[in-house]
């Protein structure tokens, strides 16, 4: 992408914070990524407020990553998406995050293509592995 892509991660608990650390084990330090946690007792309104406070400081494009559709972090993300221009991928996993980080700086890839590829990468990454010994 020609513009900077910020990544905002919103999840139940500290999943996002730790997912980012896991990704950093693989690709090194990651910039322009922000994690927000829905903790016990935190309301959707407070989560939205926290995220929008950061959003207001950002330049460039932004993608929101959430853990699952229907959960409060994703409900919050949907509200944010109405007020701010951004993309949203729910059901985030490590392969999606890595794909975003590795491809976002390529000038030949547009944001649309990037998002599409990340969703595909995420889906493709899920499978049940057959054991060579027991064929399960």
């Amino acid at each position: 992408m020609s513009q900077k892509l910020n990544i905002i991660v919103m999840n139940h608990g500290e999943f996002g914070t730790w997912l980012i650390k896991s990704a950093e084990m693989i690709v090194g330090e990651i910039k322009d990524v922000y994690a927000f946690s829905l903790t016990e007792g935190k309301s959707i309104e407070n989560l939205i407020k926290e995220v929008t406070e950061t959003f207001d400081t950002l330049n460039g494009e932004t993608v929101l990553l959430t853990d699952m559709y229907g959960g409060t972090p994703n409900n919050a993300a949907l509200v944010i998406q109405q007020k701010y221009q951004c993309r949203l991928i729910c059901g985030m996993n490590l392969p999606i995050l890595l794909e975003l980080i590795l491809i976002r700086d390529r000038d030949d890839v547009s944001l649309d293509v990037l998002i599409k590829n990340c969703v595909a990468a995420g889906k493709k990454s899920i499978e049940s592995c057959i054991s060579p010994i027991s064929s399960i």
């Binding site: 007792g41 935190k42 959707i44 409900n75 509200v79 109405q82």
Partner: protein, 177 residues
């Protein structure tokens, strides 16, 4: 305590309420889906004056609902007005907080039981068990609901034990000593 505009008997006629829950996250994730399935609900009714006026956030909650359920978001007054026109539905009522549930009961809602499923943490509130932050005012409101004939208990997910309001009140008393 009848509100102006409600019929004189002040009784809630929605006899097909299959479940009633307080959850500050309303429709979220798999928790509510599990309850909906267990109770075989067909209609989700969120009763909340503020939310009934917030078109956008209301839409978000409707989108969050699992497929196959009708979702209505109504003010207390409208929910009471609609009570006789909802037939052939198994209604799952959701309140965002104890205050709204208490207001609904005061305005004539008769609930057989009320499950406290999720409460917002706020300064001044303490969790007497699991994660249910409450203060004196919450306890008084819940006592009021129970006195109106509703069985009040605390439970987040199916499979967890139901904790009676009396236990929670007892623990609050002990903590304040």
């Amino acid at each position: 305590m009848l509100q102006k505009g409600i019929e004189s008997d002040g009784i809630n006629h929605m006899t097909n309420i299959v479940h009633c829950r307080i959850d500050f996250r309303l429709i979220h994730g798999q928790v509510v889906t599990k309850w909906l399935k267990m109770k075989e609900a067909t209609l989700i009714m969120i009763i909340d004056d503020e939310l009934s006026k917030d078109e956008f956030l209301g839409m978000v909650y409707k989108m969050a609902a699992p497929r196959g359920y009708e979702v209505l978001i109504l003010s207390i007054e409208d929910a009471l007005k609609m009570r006789d026109s909802i037939e052939d539905k198994r209604i799952f009522i959701l309140f965002k907080n104890i205050e709204t549930a208490s207001e609904a009961v005061k305005h004539g809602f008769r609930l057989e039981s009320l499950q406290v499923g999720g409460l917002e943490g706020k300064p001044g509130k303490t969790s007497v068990f699991h994660h249910f932050p409450v203060d004196e005012n919450d306890c008084d409101l819940l006592k009021g609901i129970e006195n109106a004939g509703t069985h009040v208990f605390f439970q987040t997910v199916p499979g967890e034990n139901e904790v009676e309001l009396s236990s929670v009140l007892q623990k609050m008393k002990e903590k304040s000593k």
